[in-house]
């Protein structure tokens, strides 16, 4: 399992692996939105939590179909399925690798890019923390969606349609926490909800994804 995780990270950082794609997309979104909105600084601070969370979510969505799609195309997913590794472990390793190469960089970049949106330093810290808690859910739910749309040619659109509604709770609570923090209100409850979604995803989705993989590989 660790070997698969390590391989996926190695593939992601080598040429054509798509590492940094999400980060650059995130950067573009966050840089362009103030240009499109008014130059009113207080208005920017108001939308900053939502913009950052939405940007992170869409950036995460970009690379979802690669999680299983590439391995499915070159036949290595078939070979992994016949290996001693259970498909649930394959899912966890791949979702974890996706998080490390997508979710973690986004979470670390968010407070820095928050400056562009006039987000205060304290709210930026909460932003980073909420993304650290929430992006595992994004990777896990996304990888689950990827197992469902495995055999579908050009399944990217279907995958987005499937996954976006499942992302809504994470987005609401994540943005809520940062918004509360920027207003100086308590933000612990929404953060706990984000953590709960991630933990729930870790507990349930490996089994659902394992079943989906088994059906789709048949």
């Amino acid at each position: 399992m660790i070997q698969l995780f390590a391989r996926d990270i190695r593939l992601a950082v080598r040429s054509g692996g798509g590492f940094g794609l999400a980060l650059i997309f995130f950067l573009i979104v966050v840089v362009l939105i103030p240009l499109g909105l008014s130059s009113d600084q207080s208005a920017l601070a108001l939308v900053a939590p939502g913009v950052l969370w939405l940007g992170a979510l869409l950036a995460c969505l970009l690379s979802l179909d690669r999680i299983f799609g590439l391995d499915y195309e070159d036949g290595s997913l078939d070979l992994l399925a016949t290996s001693p590794l259970p498909l649930e472990a394959v899912y966890i390793a791949k979702a974890a690798a996706h998080w490390l190469t997508t979710g973690l960089p986004l979470a670390l970049a968010a407070p820095v890019l928050g400056v562009l949106l006039n987000l205060s330093f304290d709210a930026g810290k909460v932003m980073c923390f909420s993304l650290l808690l929430g992006t595992p859910a994004l990777s896990l739910i996304g990888a689950f969606g990827a197992t469902l749309t495995l055999g579908v040619k050009r399944g990217g659109l279907l995958l987005s349609l499937l996954v976006l509604p499942l992302y809504v709770p994470t987005l609401i609570f994540g943005a809520r926490a940062v918004h509360s923090a920027s207003l100086g209100q308590p933000f612990d409850v929404p953060l706990i909800m984000v953590l709960a979604i991630s933990l729930g995803a870790v507990a349930i989705l490996p089994f659902a994804s394992g079943a989906a993989l088994r059906i789709n590989l048949r």
Partner: protein
Amino acid sequence: MLQVSNLSVARGGKILLHDVSFSVEPGQALVLRGANGIGKTSLLRCIAGLQTPTSGKILVPETVAYAAHANGLKGQLSVFENLKFWADIYGGPRPDVALNSYSLENFAYQPAANLSAGQQRRLGLARMLVTGCRLWVLDEPTVSLDVQNVALFYKVLKAHLQGGGAAVLATHIDFQLSAESLDLTSYIASLNMSSSAFEEALE
């Protein structure tokens, strides 16, 4: 080592093979023969555990090494890294022996994407050696190999069999080792049979 009894195999909801039974003992290789589309690949996928048979039983060792039409290689990884990954997943031996036996040692640190089709196939077959599995399930193993490399493949397979391993293969070319072959033509789930079963069900 492998026991298949009264197996029915379907692809896309249509039953292809019916009532297939055979067994393979250690040291034996079984060659599956039959025309294109007869269900060789589906049968092999059943043995590898990727597909569930419609009926019948398959007794296999816990892990089986399966080589499909696609080699499952990662072009960005080197030849050595590709093999090392599978060796780690299976807990098998180090890749050096596998590299030497398919004379890939000169390409060990090149990206797999740079290999030719035949070299990639050899790498795909070398993967079987690093799995450490005793039962090999090979689907058209000699595709895109030249005569010399087919001979190389036979040499490796022979060593595997002599070491107590077993193999099931689907191939169209003449098999040069002493091995049993099973012609699947006699197991075709014919239209007549299914329609008579249908009539029986109606009555």
